[in-house]
Amino acid sequence: MDGLERELSEALARRPAPPSLKHKVMERRSRERAQRRQQRMEWFERLAASLVLAGVAGGAVIGHYAVERRKGEEAKQQVFTALRIANHALEQMNAQLKQQDRNLR
């Protein structure tokens, strides 16, 4: 190591940090941590709200489909009833026609 390098080592020796540095770091750290905690809480709140909203929307959709299905079933039953009535009427008519036919012979 020559003279210049020795001077360089001396010039670049570590300096003591300002006395307030640690205090400022710890203060900013606790502030940042509180902020992060709050952000995490807000995130959870948003997530919970989204889940509730998704649940409500999903329930509404499922409810709507259930109502539609029930209405469909009712309509189907009505059609079957109507068909049964029509069938019954046709059978009666058929029996009457057969009776008339027999009377004519």
């Binding site: 210049l4 010039a11 670049l12 570590r14 300096r15 540095l21 770091v25 710890m26 750290r29 940042e32």
Partner: protein, 172 residues
């Protein structure tokens, strides 16, 4: 053993605040900015504390982040058109009193005129006493590049010192 090491943030600040602050100070030349950088570096350490595996890793990590942050700060200042080292006389009035040799102060001023990459290599070499391999790892640069920065930096510094320090020594 490394797995069982539990980093204590406050202790790490105590141990390394002088190193981090000095690196930032020697790279930027601005005491206020160096303090800000040191704060940012330690806060970043706090965010990455879980990833720090050992005391050596903490030291390496702090050096690396301090150098990167200081370079970023210089870049930002350059974009804004502020020459940090130009203001060194005003900012370092108190610093110079702390120093043992006025010659060292002149050397530091000369160092400030070197290109940023050379200055970074020299600061790590002479402040932290790192080997070129360690400097390369810290700066994330090839070893050959670091060796070249060290050689050229020293050569340039020597040339400048020959012109300026001779006059200074004659004056003293």
């Amino acid at each position: 053993m490394a797995a069982s090491w539990q980093p204590d943030f406050e202790q790490l600040v105590d141990e390394h605040q002088s190193m981090v602050f000095s690196l930032a100070l020697h790279i930027t030349g601005d005491r206020g900015l160096a303090e800000e950088i040191a704060q940012d570096v330690f806060l970043e350490l706090d965010r990455h504390l879980a990833k720090i595996a050992s005391p050596d890793h903490a030291c390496f990590w702090l050096r690396r982040v301090a150098m990167n942050r200081s370079a970023d700060a210089l870049r930002r200042r350059r974009v804004r058109g502020i020459g940090l080292w130009v203001e060194m006389d005003e900012n370092h009035g108190a610093q110079r009193e702390e120093r043992s040799s006025p010659l060292a102060s002149r050397v530091e001023q000369l160092l400030a005129t070197l290109p940023e990459a050379q200055r970074a290599a020299l600061v790590l070499r002479y402040q932290e006493d790192l080997t070129p391999e360690e400097i390369a790892a810290t700066l994330g640069a090839p070893l050959a590049t670091v060796k070249s920065h060290l050689q050229r930096g020293l050569k340039l510094l020597r040339a400048k010192a020959e012109c300026q320090l001779k006059e200074y020594i004659r004056g003293v």
